[in-house]
Symmetry: D3
Subunit: 242 residues, 6 copies
């Protein structure tokens, strides 16, 4: 049987770590190939600490961000592609969209993770989800590059944004990441430029852990300490409702 | 390991057949114990054909409805309890609510099915879901009948209402019922008083089958012909997002 | 052909004047029988000016409100029934609900008007709509008082609440009341105890008139000066989409 | 009096048949001129069967799709314009938008039909509705091509998408197409490349027929067997609420 | 000038501590009188640890809960009234509602805090908010106990529920509680029976602190470490938009 | 202390007068610097009366609109920048977006006003709000034009659209403009080309005044006659909930 794979579409080069690092480490551990596409480096909008160092240029910031991101991906077990499309604002040309379609066709992901469809604090994030969905639809079309293997219908999940309620993001799926938490924390610590967020996202994982536990019932045998929340956007098809 | 079980809370005595007959037959076949609670017989509001026969009384209609319902349950493999609370309007006293709590405690369901939380065409339906949820919460409380085994956190699903869009019901879960379709159809045919609905719900199953197939992708090996749609109201907790 | 009729379910004894006076006068003029049910007199919550007179009792306030309401109904051409169920809070027993069902069966309305389903400023209003809908559903049931003529499926409209946006009330239907405006204004002026609202509702009618005109297009021949807005809750069935 | 007309804006060359074929045939029969604009042929994303034949090119697929579409339009009684803007993804330049404005000005439609404003399964569909609305607004502006006759305020309807609930599409209007069903079915059968959808959309029409009947009441004289559902996006202005 | 006051309507006897303890301590410090109404003790549904001790009765649990609650209120600076209406399920009679109206009339609160209007995990919570709003409306009515001083229009806020997103609760208002955090934490530690929640709600306060800081801008002089989130349900009226 | 300032992003050259004229006059009076950016003159879509004069060109209409707008701004006390990007449809290039970012950086607004995020009657309006938000986010980024003073987190408000309910616009904030009403009315009267709207917006101000008064309570000392409604899109951060 073919290796299973998953795809993460990240607006900036650190998003996949904070928001989906547990999913990446866990599925990697379970035999998945993990592909991450970073549409930009977040060089203008998410690198405040680097800019404050002085003597900075966009190229230097991008290099530093790439290096952090690659180390984190390495720890998590992911391959990363950097599309380098710029940020604040991110703009995605049809050419870049087709490059993402190619990734879908090559990776054949079992599921896809990206940002919440709405985020009033960050317009790059919803755009990343939009192109993740649009590329998926094109990758399903038999008339796009006929002869290539088309993509099935991989479920699409939105990972957790910074201010969930303002984004109308509702976690209908909790992923238990207790056993890979240490890996995620190590990946988080690669983000030297955003150290103030390390504890923030540790607390997020703990809160989601408590909630996940509550949603399986306190009498359940499974003990969940850390979790990630996801909003599944596409319906599930199943043979058992339990 | 203990037998698994499921619970269906049905406002009227036929709802569980049209709306959850496939889930019942399928899980029964897979080893589940299935408990159905019918809050009323639907004697006033859903028995038009019986009333038109003339010479009818409420008691006669209730008897006929009970008989149809029991035969259908038999075919599907479910145990049925009739609470006989009256319909149009259904009213649920706290005493009846506690009787439902007792069912939860006794059955210990792995999941629960009931009506959509909103239905402008039928006020008995949302009330059934409301008490299904309220009884579940009470059954979880350690201080309710201390000493009894409390209930965990069984997922709650809303099965398909008649006019889905008006009810703001969105199927985020499709259940493949292809292999038990014949059983469901036979159960449906017990409802002699509502023959006009037999083909309606057959078409519903076919449409949901096409949609379920589309949601796993046309390239998937699994062939789905009949399905039931469900709106899961409670978050899923999982160890794999595929 | 039988006379057509309409039904208005009003929480308090003045609501039908401010909110549906134009619809009543217009349909009356077009040959409809108009029935209004006032669930209460609004004696506690909507009679501030009367209470400030001093020497008041609930009975005196109710008598004054009834008198104003009857005069307004007379001008508009409506029959009024007062259920006298009390206000702030309005409470509707099943007995009162059945009395409303009887009205439906007797009146056989072609459509029904009541309050918006949500109103954070007034809990009596949504309750009135709730019972208007629940009574309609029971009146449709063949098993309720078998032998009586059942009700069809009269469209249900919510008339305009005081603070529309807070009530999530959206006018999807505008009624041109230009030709009966003078009648409505005269009925409004019967409400001596709420004189501060006369101009308020005149401005409402003018604003809705401008909006109605905009929704038929400025090039349309019809000149609309006054209108009432309604939120239709039930689908329309038609043979022409223009 | 001038001939009345209607406009359909279809993302791909078959959409207008499945989704609005009944409306077209019915209004044509009632004397309307019917104009259909197909923004693309659906050559990449909606022609799977054609591509599987092998030896295919985009041009061949487009030719086959055009031919099917024209035959269907002929049966229904519609004029079709093909804008040939490409699909998966559809992209609409301002030049194409202005061409659609010109159609509005020339056709002066009494109402407009297009896709649902949201469709997570198909990004071309919401875009078609978006430009249908944007072109309508521009066509209303006196400063656009001054001297031309401006457009009034034709109602806008969204026809039925494939998975209605996922699209947040709610049918607030049912069109009785019983008398033209045979015509619609014949038009549907022109779509040789999508034969699997013939029965799907026949079942849709039957289900909507049952629902339409329920919404006029089972006691109504009119017998409705087939219907189409529409979501009206613009308010109605009327002189009678029945 | 008269002392200002605030009112908190708490479903169970600990809710006001977790969810509004910071607001209470802060406003108390700023000169407000703080009144808390606990509708129940949460004796059945929120006292799991106490029940597990064995040898417990409802009366013993209620006494323990009352004692914890009073100590916490004391630390925060609030007066507490216990209505003792029972929990799981909470039921509020009209008599109890009128008792709450009396509290409004006596306290004349400048604003009111209660639970989120929706909570699928806890049906007592939305009911508490419902009666908090209904009592407020009745307290505004001149005809209710004429002669008493009526209540103005105190803003209503929903404090933070356990699983915010599932409750459709959106914090549109952040309260900086940094300077009173120690007091809140001490009050929290009175809740011996729910020690597992101490750190949970500490993390909540830290996360809301980060978000509050982000919403005033990182360049703002004010340093916020701990905050509480609120959803304001009623419009603000102001003379300055900054 | 530095002067405070506010920013208004207006799609067309008259919008800021009808919708935010009171806010401008009031804050000007209270010492604010007021900057207005008009993205277009509304020369095609909102100048019907001018076009009907005949002998008109786009340049002449733009000149007339600019003159009216400047006179109104003068009366209100605002500086106006005209971006002249065209209307019906408005299109905003990235270059224009960056020009707006520069305005943010230069003005350092304490709050921002623009259109409602949704408006089915006018697609230029939501686009204006979109770019107002996008420019604000970019202006906050340290990596955009490093060295410039970044912008904090100014609250964003949507002012009142023409048909509020269709736009899903809900006024959660009322601004009392009673004391500057005369100034706003004089500014309104500069709009010679849209005289039919003078009374419309006067009535809007009166209605919002009544509602604002109701939301502070009829017993409040403050008498409000005229108000403007705003939908605040960003959370408030406060130290007092009254």
């Amino acid at each position: 049987m073919a290796e299973k794979s998953m795809l993460v579409v990240s607006a900036h080069s650190a998003d996949f770590v904070w928001r989906a690092g547990g999913a990446i480490a866990l599925h990697k551990q379970n035999g998945y190939r993990v592909k991450v596409v970073c549409l930009s480096f977040g060089e203008r909008g998410e690198s405040a600490k680097l800019w404050r160092k002085g003597e900075m240029t966009v190229e230097k910031v991008k290099a530093a961000r790439r290096e952090e991101s690659e180390r984190a991906a390495d720890i998590l077990g992911a391959e990363v592609d950097f599309f380098d499309l710029g940020d604040y604002p991110l703009r995605v040309s049809d050419e870049a969209l087709m490059r993402l379609v190619d990734v879908y066709r090559e990776v054949q992901p079992a599921f896809v993770l990206s940002h919440s469809p709405k985020d009033p604090y960050n317009f790059d994030h919803p755009l990343a989800m939009h192109v993740a969905q649009e590329a998926r639809i094109i990758a399903q079309a038999e008339g796009h590059n006929p002869g290539q293997k088309i993509v099935g219908a991989p479920p699409v999940y939105a990972f957790e944004p910074h201010q969930t309620e303002q984004c109308e993001w509702i976690p209908n799926t909790f992923l238990d990441i207790t056993e890979v938490w240490d890996i995620k924390r190590r990946a988080i610590e690669c983000m030297a430029g955003q150290e103030h967020l390390w504890d923030y996202y540790t607390r997020v994982a703990l809160q989601r852990g408590v909630q996940a536990k509550r949603n399986i019932g306190i009498t359940a045998a499974l003990d969940i300490k850390y979790a990630e929340g996801y909003m599944r956007l596409t319906p599930a098809v199943t043979g058992d409702l339990a």
